[in-house]
Amino acid sequence: MLFSRDTDEGRAFRAEVRNWLAQALPAAYRHHLQVLDPAILRDWQRRLHARGWVAPAWPKAFGGMGGSIDEQLILLEELARAGAPPVLPTGVNLLGHALMAFGTPEQQARHLPAILDGSVFWAQGYSEPGAGSDLASLRTAAIEDGDHYVVTGEKIWSSFAHFCDWIFALVRTDPDAKPRHAGISMLLIDLRSPGITVRPIRTIAGRDEFASVVFDRVRVPRENLLGAKNDGWRVANHVLVFERLANGSPRHALSMWRKVRDVAERTGVASEHAFADRLAALEIRLLAHLALYRHAVERVKHEASIDDIAPVMKIVSTELLQALTELLLDAGEPHGAPMAFDLPGRSLELAGEYLLARRTTIFGGSNEIQRNIIANRVLGFPRVY
């Protein structure tokens, strides 16, 4: 891969991954839309887990691959190259890290294995009807009652919650706390608990991708508190770091670049000068993004902070992805804006890809919030809203 020279061990590992993917990744799973059928997600995660590669960044002590940074990157690159489905990120990439950092031994023993093998899917319960980017204003209340918390309120825009089994949710445990984020805790909640209503919300792409989760006096065992009471903001920020890193990966843009190229060659648009020039401009930006990503990896290798470039990567990767989907539509333009477009051995949803990509600049801390973070924390400008 560009900007990455494999060591002898790396070359061997890359060959091992590539060979395994050639055998283990069904053709029907390759280069699919960014959201898949839950059955496919579970099946793919099961296969990856059986090979020991579902959580490359997790330590072996917790059942992860315990891979070096180079091995993690190689795995990521080869999965992207093969067009493999994603692993649902909320469990492996987000909650898993929080459990390892803040969970009790009992919580770790109970939840981590089920996250790895995909038998339990997790939803993230942060946003509320009245609290989006301003997360600290959340109002879902958790009131202590003996050995339980009683949770009442509503979470919204929870990705995949309609087919998830559990949810990790930020709740208010001290309504009078100043500042507001000091009164927030993180609870692990079984979505089958009495009093929970999950309502799927159809996205602009016509899919049930996220959901509203209403809590009506739901009793949650006190042992399901993750981290200390009123310390949920710190747990959430720990999760957000991994979320932003994952969102800053060039993987999705790389995958989209290949789709654009394939469709344009199929329709003949690739030979048109104006199109080729626009694609070259985006390719050059993608090259620069790959360089920045490699730079971040080097810093992580040396245990240096990437706080200053994580929001940059999130902005670049998501806006690049969206720009590529604009080109994808242009590439398929002789066929209109079809929901289905056939390529040899697979089918793409051109309009669906375009519509789905709208979410990337909104989720995981909107790009406007990322720009605020860079302005304030990197450039030293005053904090404004």
Binding site: D277, L287, A291, R371, L379, G380, P382
Partner: protein, 318 residues
């Protein structure tokens, strides 16, 4: 390798801060700085790191003159042949010296031009004595320097200093180093513009608060910061991968295209952020924009480099 870039950039910045000697006699100053010796002793990858570091420092200092051209010539072992008079380079590959024209930066400072002549089969590097050129016209550039435009209507006497395979390799190396270091200069200019603009926005008060407290301005600066961060990362990666010759020129085309576009956009925005002070010639940002315009056009501009990249793109999944 990035340590070399940083170390040399710091040293070069200190040196350029006291640039009187450099302005008076760039080549002699270059020798005094020790770059000639450093380049002679460096590996090709280290030469790339040094060239980019010098470029960054020059850009940040808004220094002009053929320093990077001289550095590139040193790296290619050509300075000895040119002696201390070398001051300008035209790295374009041309079929002959009598059917084209020369366009040479800093031509007014030169006693000789170093040119690449010939074709793919037979190429040589040669010196042209400025005194024998007829009809050279100096075209004033936006940054105050001069571009020499020489119509070559008659054969020009050349003094070959390198021929055959060596010349082909040296010409390619020369072109690569010039693309690299000119890109670095553009990034240095962009960084300076951002620094100056941030200082201005942080102190200028309007409507009862500093300009930096307005979100619309913050986000504009953030976008420029992102472009420059990407350019800097690409520069460092190109230097790190210098030894991979097969993809070097394509990466350099991508780098020069991106750095040119980012520098022009950043400095153009810088003028806007500074308001009337930005538009004033005496303001601190206008020289940044002028330098960006000149450097962006040198050795291939944003569109031409992108076109060259498109002709030989990199397979991102190779």
């Amino acid at each position: 390798m990035n340590d070399i870039v940083t170390g040399f950039a710091d040293a070069a910045a200190d040196w350029l801060a006291d640039a009187k000697a450099y302005a008076a006699d760039p080549v002699a100053a270059l020798q005094a700085f020790g770059l000639a010796q450093a380049m002679a002793e460096a590996t090709p990858a280290e030469q790339a790191a040094i060239a980019s570091a010098v470029g960054l420092a020059m850009g940040e200092a808004l220094a002009t003159g053929p320093l990077i051209e001289a550095v590139a010539a040193e790296a290619c072992g050509l300075a000895g042949g040119a002696g201390a008079t070398l001051a300008a380079i035209d790295p374009q590959h041309r079929d002959s010296m009598d059917d084209a024209s020369l366009r040479v930066p800093y031509a007014d400072l030169a006693q000789h031009f170093l040119v690449a002549v010939g074709n793919e089969r037979a190429r040589s590097l040669a010196l042209v004595d400025v005194s024998v050129l007829r009809g050279m016209r100096l075209v004033a550039q936006a940054d105050g320097t001069a571009l020499g435009h020489v119509p070559l209507e008659a054969p020009v006497p050349l003094r070959q200093i390198l021929g055959g395979t060596d010349a082909r390799a040296a010409a390619a190396q020369l072109g690569d180093l010039l693309l690299l270091s000119t890109s670095a200069r553009l990034i240095g200019v962009s960084a300076r513009c951002l620094r100056v603009a941030r200082e201005h926005l942080g102190t200028r008060v309007q409507f009862g608060k500093t300009l930096s407290a307005f979100q619309v301005l913050q986000h504009g600066v953030v976008d420029a910061h992102i472009d420059v961060t990407l350019a800097r990362s690409l520069l460092e990666r190109v230097v790190d991968d210098w030894a991979i010759v097969a993809q070097r020129r394509t990466l350099l085309m991508a780098l020069k295209s991106h750095a040119s576009g980012a520098a022009r956009a950043t400095c153009r925005k810088g003028v806007q952020w500074m308001g009337a002070m930005g538009f004033a010639d005496e303001g601190p940002v206008s020289p940044c924009l002028k330098h960006a315009l000149v450097l962006a056009a040198r050795y291939g501009g944003e569109a031409r480099c992108r076109s060259a990249y498109r002709d030989d793109p990199i397979d991102l999944f190779a």
